[in-house]
Each structure stands twice: as C-alpha cells, then as structure tokens.
C-alpha cells in the first residue's frame, strides 16, 4: 500500500495489489452474508486541480478517495451498494445483500465468467504525477493569460487544469480478477467573448493527455479552438428559413448524430424495445462511407483500461461499416438476456451498476478538405447544437449555437436559428466527410460532416 503525498506528487492511496485485496474482501463478505454471486469494483484516485474563475486563479483543490461498489445476486435477485470508506466494505456488502433480498427476481441474474485479460502495464507517466501543485498552478495561470492574449474580448467564466492518478480493480466470485492504473493531465476553458455591450455565445473546449510533454501543447490547441468559437459568435444577426444542407464540425457530430445513434446500439435498448435498429444487422442505415468503430482499449496515444467495468477484455468492434449496421454492444447482463457473449462494453465507475456503453469511438474520415465541405450555395454551420433528439423516432429539433449562415460564398454568424429533422434520414443524407478528424479527450475521433436537406428556421 502506498500513501497520498502532497509533497511527493499525485498518487492514489491504494496500489493495484491493495485495491484487489479490498475487492476480494468485499466478495468474501458478500458471500458470507448470503450472496451466491458477488462482484466488487473499486477505484482509488488522487487529483490536484487548479481551478480558474472570473479570469483569475480560483483555487487549488487536492483530493484522494477510494470508492467501491458491491454487486450481488441472492436467489436470483440483484442488489447493489457502494461506499467510500474501505473500512466499511463488510457492512456495504451486507447492505447489497439486503437490497437483493427486498427485490423481485431478475430473469437474467448472474455475473459474467472470468475471461483472460491481457496484462497491460499501467499508463502512468511519472513526470505527470510529479508535477507539484505550485507548478500546475503556474501552468494554469500561464494558459489563462495565453488564452486571453489571443483576443482581448475573451472572458473566462470557469476553467481548470488538473492531474489525476487512478487505479481500478475488479474481483468476483466467478473468478474475475483484474487491475490497472493510469495517469491523466487535463484542462478546459468555458466562457465567451464580450465586446462592449455585446455578449457572445458560450464556448467550451478542453482535452486530456497521458504524457506531461503533451499537456501544454494539447491544451493550447484546445484553448485556441475555444477562442475561435467564442469570438466567431460575436455580432450574430438573424438567419434565414429554408431547407438545405448543414455542416457539423467535429464538436457537433456527437450531439446531432452519433450520440442519438449510440442510444440505439446498446443491447439494453434492443431488449427494452427502445432501439429502432433491433433486428436490422446487415441493413444499410447510413450513407456509403459512414463507418463507426468502437475503439476498445483506446485510440492511439491514449490507452484506456484493458478491461471493462465487469473485468471483461475490451476489443475493437465495428458498429457501422460503409453505412451498414454490423453490431450491438453488450455487457454481461445484456449478453445473458440476448443469448450472446459480452462484447466487453460494461461502462461506469464504482458508484453505479455497470451499464452498456462505448469506451472509445472513431468515425472514419473522408476525402474532402474542411474548406470544401463548408462551401455551400446556402447552408448553415452548426457549431454547437442545443436541442433534443427522440432516439427512437429519430426526430430532433433545437437551436444552432455560435452558428454561421453560408450564402453566395460568404459566411456570417447567426442567432435564434433552429434546425429540425430526423436522425435516420440525416444518417443517409451525409454527403461529405472531412479528410481530417479531431480527437476529443483521447476517446472520441470525429471528422466534420455535411448533411443534406435539414429544416432550418430563423426566429
């Protein structure tokens, strides 16, 4: 066991062995309390965060914590309890058993079997963890000045630069036993541009890295995008109402298209009748060239934990290939319900039951330069989308934030403009993909897209 040292850098309180031992104590305690099957997932984390507010340094926050969740099955009934006190692992295991005893039976009760997980070394850059709070604070203040120095109209509402060390472990009565640690440096800025009495739309950007050497360059790139987004929204005027093309920059691809699509690709959505794609493997659901892949244990340069929330190995999984639906995501429970094997997509932390979801996603790039993609006779660039999509029907509507009207070779910022359409139609109407992708927080890679025939309404 190691200890958190404020003077000795950022270090999680429990190492892999100590955390696994905690998990195994919890499994045994749950068995002793009457559980036929038990699983404990735990995380030990330490973080130093320098927060920014009102264009100034706000404070330095230091934190370390151990959290764990106990999942049990008692006579086919599910129970779950969590706590943040390792000394309470036995009482928490008993709490989980009590929850199970008060619950109706679960027809798909049971934990996944142990499957060998490749033993990956921790993704820890010691130089990152040795960054002292004072040095991190200087970097944060430098980046604040750098960002505001790009344009005097920039104002930062909130921001942060942080370094964290996380160790995670899982053990179960079915033989699962895995642990892994990682370090991350991250930062973000949230704010707007103010020009006299004119206040622009909110802008946000940030990134996360595994190596100290990447931290400053990646954050400068992110904060440069933030400045461009904030200042580009100034001076917005009314748009126009028409049906026509929209361009989705990488930042908007997830909110308009991929996010709602993913809500249909989980085994839980299929089982519960909430997926419009149920039973449609092999069908065309998107335009040719639209290829979406779940990135398994991470995209190049940003390794993720080699196992999922249930200790199952993570692997790359094509979801949509060249517009054709290829696969759904499953965790242990949904795999059991569907009669298939888990694809290793149990997500979540120690304080929540596992649920189906992707760890990393990559949308294939195309061959169109970004400038060409945005060349439209009349169309709208949806810098951000503030709206909602019914993931089942696919109907969506919402406001374009920080957007631009492109018309007759010129572009101008617009406000109070809404777009409405249908997800399933839009996926088939993707007419161009940019030739470069933006990697967001190490786990999402999107190119810009152009989508035809969307309803655009000016206020």
């Amino acid at each position: 066991m190691t200890t958190t040292g404020f003077g000795g850098g950022v270090r999680a309180r429990l190492d892999r062995a100590a955390l696994l031992a905690l998990c195994e104590r919890g499994v045994q305690a749950a068995r002793d309390a009457g559980a036929q099957e038990a699983e404990v997932y735990a995380e030990s984390s330490a973080e130093v965060e320098v927060s920014l507010q009102k264009n100034d340094l706000d404070q330095v926050r230091v934190a370390d914590e151990v959290q764990f969740g106990v999942r049990v099955f008692v006579d086919g009934r599910l129970g779950f309890a969590t706590a943040n006190d390792p000394g309470a692992v036995v009482t928490t295991a008993r709490d989980a058993v009590a929850v199970a005893q008060a619950s109706p039976p679960d027809p798909d009760a049971g934990l996944p079997p142990a499957v060998p997980v490749m033993d990956q070394p921790d993704a820890v850059d010691e130089a990152l963890l040795q960054l002292e709070p004072g040095a991190l604070a200087r970097m944060a203040v430098d980046l604040l000045a750098w960002t505001r120095g790009r344009d005097p109209r920039i104002t930062i509402d909130t921001g942060a630069v942080a370094v964290a060390h996380t160790v995670r472990a899982v053990a179960s009565s079915t033989g699962v036993r895995a642990a892994w640690g990682s370090a991350a440096g991250s930062g973000h800025m949230f704010g707007m541009a103010v020009d006299g009495d004119t206040v622009g739309s909110f802008a946000y950007d940030g990134d996360a890295v595994r190596q100290l050497a990447q931290l400053r360059p990646k954050l400068e790139a992110a904060f440069g995008r933030f400045v461009a987004g904030a200042t580009g929204a100034l001076g917005a005027t009314a748009g126009e109402s028409f049906r026509g093309p929209i361009v989705l920059p990488p930042e908007a691809v997830e909110s308009v298209l991929v996010g709602p699509l993913m809500r249909n690709l989980g085994g839980d959505a299929v089982r519960q009748g909430r997926s419009a794609l149920a039973g449609r493997i092999g069908e065309r659901i998107a335009a040719p060239g639209f290829t979406l892949v779940e990135g398994g244990a991470g995209i190049a340069g940003y390794p993720l934990c080699p196992f999922d929330r249930e200790g199952q190995p993570r692997a790359t999984l094509p979801l949509v290939e060249d517009g054709v639906l290829k696969a759904f995501l499953y965790d242990g429970r949904e795999a059991r319900a569907a009669g298939v094997r888990s694809t290793g997509h149990a997500q979540g932390g120690a304080t929540a039951l596992p649920s189906v979801g992707p760890a990393a996603l990559v949308l294939a790039t195309g061959d169109v330069p970004r400038a060409t993609l945005e060349r439209m006779e009349r169309g709208v660039i949806v810098t951000r989308f503030s709206g909602s999509t019914d993931p089942v029907s696919g109907d969506f509507s919402g406001v374009v934030k920080g957007g631009f009207l492109v018309k007759d070779g010129e572009r101008r910022p617009i406000h109070e403009t809404t777009i409405a359409g249908n997800l399933w139609t839009c996926l088939k109407n993707v007419s161009a993909r940019a030739d470069t992708a933006h990697l967001h927080y190490g786990s999402r890679a999107w190119p810009a897209l152009r989508v035809e025939d969307v309803s655009i309404t000016a206020g």
Partner: protein, 464 residues
Amino acid sequence: MRAMLKDALRRAGGDGFVELRWHDKTFRSISVEKGRLERSGVRRRRGVGVRVLVDGTWGFASTGDASVSAVTQAIGRARAAARASAGLRRERIESLPPVALATGDFVGEGVDAVLGMSLEERVALAVAVEARARAASARVNSASGTYNEIFEEKSIVTSDGADVSFKLVRPELYVAAVAERDGQLSRVSESVGVTGGWDCLFRDAPEALADKAARTAVDLLDAKAPEGGRTTVIMAPSIVGLLVHEAIGHTVEADFVQSGSVARGKLGHQVASDLVTLCDSGRSEFAGGAGGTLPVDDEGVLAGRTVVIQDGRLVSYLHNRETASAMGVAPTGNARAWEYADQPLIRMRNTYIEPGDASLEELIAGTDDGYLLDGPRNGQADATAEFMFGVTAARRIRGGKLGELVKGVTVTGNAFEVLRSVDGVSQEFRWDLGSGHCGKGQPAKVDAGGPYIRCRAILGGEQS
C-alpha cells in the same frame, strides 16, 4: 460531528479562515422497466470538505476519513494548496463579510416518514407506477418507473462562527411511457421531486402521473409538428420554471456576473415586464415541498428569499460570501456543494415568478393565435440569455380556445426579451422542476416554477 470538527479546528491552530463541512449522503435508486427490476441500489458517500483562505487565496482539500487527525491533516493540505498558488492570484480576497452565521440544528420535513419506509415499499412504488403506465392503453408498449431518494446530513463549522447541522430528504418519482402505432413511436415522461415527505411527493397521485404520461404518449402519435416562427405562447409553470432557472437565474449568479454575463451592470434597469417579480428562495414559497429547499447554505449562511427582479427591475444578484464582499452587499445564502469533496459554488435554490391576477382560462380566452406549452423535455441557455427548451406537450390555441396537440416543439428566444413581452400572469402557482439536477461543474438539487405566463417566443418547426 460538530464537536469533532471544532476539535480539528482547534488542533489545526489559527491561520486564516477555515470552513469544515461534514457531509453524509445516501442515495437510493430503484428502476423498473417493462415489468422487471432494472436497478436497485444504495450509494453512500461521506467525508469532510475543508476550505481555507490563506494569503488572500482559497485552498480546498477533502477526506473520507472523519477522524480528528485526518481532518486536521486535510486542513494542512488545504493551507499548503492555498500557499502554493497565492502569488498567482490577481484579485486577492482580503476578508469575508461579517454576517450572522447559522448555529444549531435543523431537521427538514418528512425525514422520519421517508426513512421509515421499508425497502420493499419503495420497490413496490416503482413497480406499481410502471405497471399503471403500461396498462393505461393498448398503444403503450413499454414503460418505466423510477424512485430516487437523497438523504443527507451536514455539519458546518467555520473559524468565524458557523456552528450548524441539518438533515433533509429529497424523494422523487419518475414514470415514462412509450406508445407505438404502425412502427411510429412516441415517448413521454412525467416526474415529481420534492424536499419533504410522502405527502409532498404524492401531491399528485402516482397513478395520475402514470396516466398522464401514457395518455400524452398515445395522443402524440397523431400530432403534427408546428410550422415554427415567432408566436404568442402561454408557458405553464414547468416551462416558466425552466425559463427563470436556466435563462435568467444563471445570468444573475454573481460569479458569472463578474465574468461578464448579460446581467452585468443592469442592476436598477427595467429588464422585464412590470408584471414580473422573480425570486430565488431557500424556502418553499407559495406551495410546499420545493425540491431545492434548504435551511442553511454550505458557508453557514441562512438561506432566505432573494428578490432578483422586482416589478420588472433587476434588483439583486445571487451571492456567496466572496462575491457579496466584492460587491459590498450581504450574502444571499446561495453557496452550495453537491458532495463533501466539492467546493461550494453559487447555485440557485427554488427560483420562481410570483403569481399574478389573471386565471389560466382568461389567458387562453384572450389569445387569438398561439400555443400552450407544458412539460419540459430538456433545456439549455447561453451567456446571451438565449435559451432552448424542448416541450413535451404543446397545444394550439385559436380564437381563444385550446386546439390540437403538436409534437417535436422547441421554444427559443432571448429570456429577457421574452420576459419584457409578458402581458399576462396567472394566479395559479406550482413548483415543477424538482426532479433531476442542475449542472454547473457539479450537480445541485433545485426547483423552479411559478404561474402561467403569456408572452412572445420563437417555436422551432418544419420548413417545407
């Protein structure tokens, strides 16, 4: 627990301001879908958050170990964190304003009643409400029911005199129905979240909640999208609540004001119709059980009522002790932290427009062409006070009469312009935003509501 905190404060010695907050939170959640239990669990997180002010700079540390030695060490880490950054802060905080800080014990309504319920009874509630929604119509092919409950105890001790403990409980119930016909689906959810006991939670019977979700989901199968454009709308309390919270309330949080929000420099200005008086309160005004109710904020300041807009004029921002000091006013009790490891931020509590003289019937009868908007699906607002809310149930109004349901409605506009256009405010009042959370880096339980108001706004719709 306060005795332990005071002991740690003594041991750590006097070196600037120290704020200690013990927070023990238990969250229960039970979720049922299509007749089977999906999730049932209990999450407990407790510890002490330590905030210090040293050399004009904040430092924050937290510990899940509630022993005197661990808290004393955390005070040391927080002080070291503050010193490490003190030379880098431009605007130093010289002092916090003197204020009457809370002392004693407070117990919220309904704590014993809710904690006295068995786990089996809580599970049965979620099972029953889901079954009711699914049985409401042959068109309903799927439903879900969720019961959530937060029980929390806090003790706050500061080096300048706060010495207070309180506990409260916030249950919420959620039901959703999915209706289907010829492959076309519509999904509608209804929810209620309160601070208080079962009598508050069941101000509408759970069965009525389930029936309403199912009925609206079925009715929406026949609905068409609106044409879109600027129009007259009557906003129900649920939409009014979203408007005053998302689009007005955030712009008057003093930390955001200092960053340059659209409300900066507007104190004393007419920013809304003189029919509009807008407040934020730690109490549950006009009706019981508001979801953001709290007796004391996380700086130990009593959480009273703050008038933000009086008869259309902006008269106050929402403050913590730091921003109140900077602006030379009294703190308003708006400093809140989600869990022990979170630092207090300026957050709303229960935000509302005060009721007026008209009735809903009069507002509808006086509307020649417009929409009645009820049931928020989601909502976001911008630095500019431009907002976007999804609306579950929008009804056409023609010639002073309610007409057909329309689907896929979003309402948008600039919130201050919308409030300037208000020409009718009803007597009816309702809290209607108590379920779910507000997000600002960390979640917060809030509520919002008000009367029905008539105003002008932009509806998103279909272009042919």
